[in-house]
């Protein structure tokens, strides 16, 4: 199953990298997100706040790439005509879909690097990382946590094609609920509690803590915990929804 997972991740990253349209988006978006970070908080005189905002914008980009990637995951397979072949494979369906979501997270990892780099080049955002080792662990932990949340979302798309639009719309509430767009202290307390259940919340804090010099490991640990939770929920949902789709006959090729 590990081989199927890794092979799937590689295949989907390569498949993504060979689409000029997707690639141009990944090139342009980081510039937009770096600009948001610079202008939104107007923190030109506070390098630490500027870097924090820049990291938030980078994780926003990663979430957007994952949510679009996982929303598209099943629809793309339907369009390519591969969905039934993937369902009919002897490995659990979660092992087929999870790599697609994590592959989007990997592309999102590039998004983080590119956003920080553009921030540095265009706006002089400082790029000092306090704990380089913890940062190197925090980024993949964030990718995993966000990718696995994508898996839970992708599972619903087995049954409902229109769920794709819902997935796209989920970009914005998650930005807000996880404190990526505006500080959580400005929002009602219940929003903070919603954030605890969301991968980007812990991923962002892990990366920010590793960069700015506070304690990152508890957040990295939470990334692993929520990822495991998402995997269990996502795999169970996929199994149940595929069964319903087999009963309804909704796994069509077109």
């Amino acid at each position: 199953m590990t081989r199927a997972f890794l092979s799937g991740m590689w295949l989907h990253v390569v498949q993504f990298s060979r689409n000029p349209f997707d690639l141009s988006g990944v090139f342009v978006w980081p510039i937009l997100y770096a600009s948001i970070a610079y202008y939104l908080l107007d923190a030109k005189n506070d390098p630490k706040l500027l870097l924090s905002a820049s990291l938030g914008a980078a994780v926003m980009l990663m979430w957007s790439l994952v949510v679009i990637g996982s929303s598209n995951a099943l629809e793309n397979q339907r369009w390519l005509g591969t969905l039934e072949l993937l369902v009919a494979a002897p490995v659990p369906f979660a092992v087929v879909i999870a790599p697609i979501c994590v592959a989007s997270g990997v592309v999102g990892g590039y998004g983080i690097a590119a956003t920080l780099l553009w921030g540095r080049l265009l706006y002089g955002v400082p790029l000092t990382i306090a704990h380089p080792f913890a940062f190197a662990v925090a980024v993949p932990a964030c990718m995993l946590a966000i990718g696995m949340l994508g898996l839970v979302m992708a599972s619903t798309f087995v049954l409902y094609r229109a769920a794709f639009s819902l997935g796209i719309a989920l970009q914005y509430p998650v930005w807000i609920a996880t404190g990526l767009l505006v500080p959580l202290s400005t929002l009602p307390a219940f929003v903070h509690q919603i954030g605890w259940f969301l991968g980007p919340y812990w991923g962002f804090r892990a990366i920010r803590a590793a960069t700015l010099g506070s304690a990152p490991w508890q957040y990295i640990g939470m990334c692993v915990v929520v990822s495991a939770g998402y995997l269990v929920v996502g795999a169970a949902c996929l199994r149940a929804f595929v069964h319903v789709a087999r009963a309804r006959g909704s796994l069509k090729l077109t």
Binding site: R3, A4, S7, G8, L11, V14, Q15, R18, N19, L80, G81, T82, E84, L85, L86, V87, A88, A89, P90, V91, V96, R246, A247, R248, G249, L251, L253
Partner: protein, 322 residues
Amino acid sequence: MAAIEVSDLCRTYRTHVGIVRRRRTDVRALDGISFEVEQGELFGLLGPNGAGKTTTIKILTTLLLPTSGSVRVLGFDPAREAGEVRRRVGHVFGGDRGLYDRLSALDNLRYFADLYRVPVREKRARIEYLLELVGLKGRERQRVETYSRGMRQRLHIARGLLHDPEVLFLDEPTIGLDPVGAREVRETIAGLRDQGKTILLTTHYMYEADELCQRLAVISGGRFAAAGTPAELKARVVDRTIIEIESFGALDGVLDRLRALPGVISVSTEQREQAEVILVQSGVGSELTHSLLRELDGIALGKVIAREPTLEDAYVELVQTA
């Protein structure tokens, strides 16, 4: 034990119409079909569009659950023991989709080999063997988007054989292929049959079924119409003569007059290039040509041929009377 056992299989699709007043409609795709496929046999499933061929294959390959009836593949129930069935069967469908176009054939095969649990040590040799088998050796590093339809179809077959399945399901594998591509695919299928692979093939093309299949079943409207060897099915119409008349004009109302002629058993039409060909089945010895031409007076006609019946004539007869 038969490789595939289908008994009284039914499948109903439920659809809903309307927004405010939702009305439920049940469409019966399969209505109690039964057949068996022996180990090492190439069995053909024939029928017009919407007959239920693909639904049958989807149930056998675990993609659909039956509404009622019993199905066994190599002794396993595809509904309850999907994992056991998936490990042992391969599924190939027609058309040029079902592959990752931006990747090479080799990348596609490597990925599906991992999904279908081909052992690492065997993977490379297995892929090499299959590329050779389907005639894609030397082209495997090209992106699939540059392949012709025939090459894609052969790649589909290679993909379906990666895990060396005991049973192979081929769902209209030559659909949309040019004659040369279709012949190459048929040769590949014949090679698999000669190796002793159990194959269930669905097709619209009678000459394909006649050339490849050891036994056939005809289904129409989700119901079973007939089964037997190609020779047995042809024998159902052996006491008949087929008269083919090429016509180049409107046939409104004329066909009913032809059907009413004494000695005529059935009348059907098919399009061949510019002409609409009228196919009239009659008993051997009936001299109908003059009566038919009299009824067709005023319509531009081409060649008129009397010939012995083929499997296609038997098929048309079975489907029309089902």
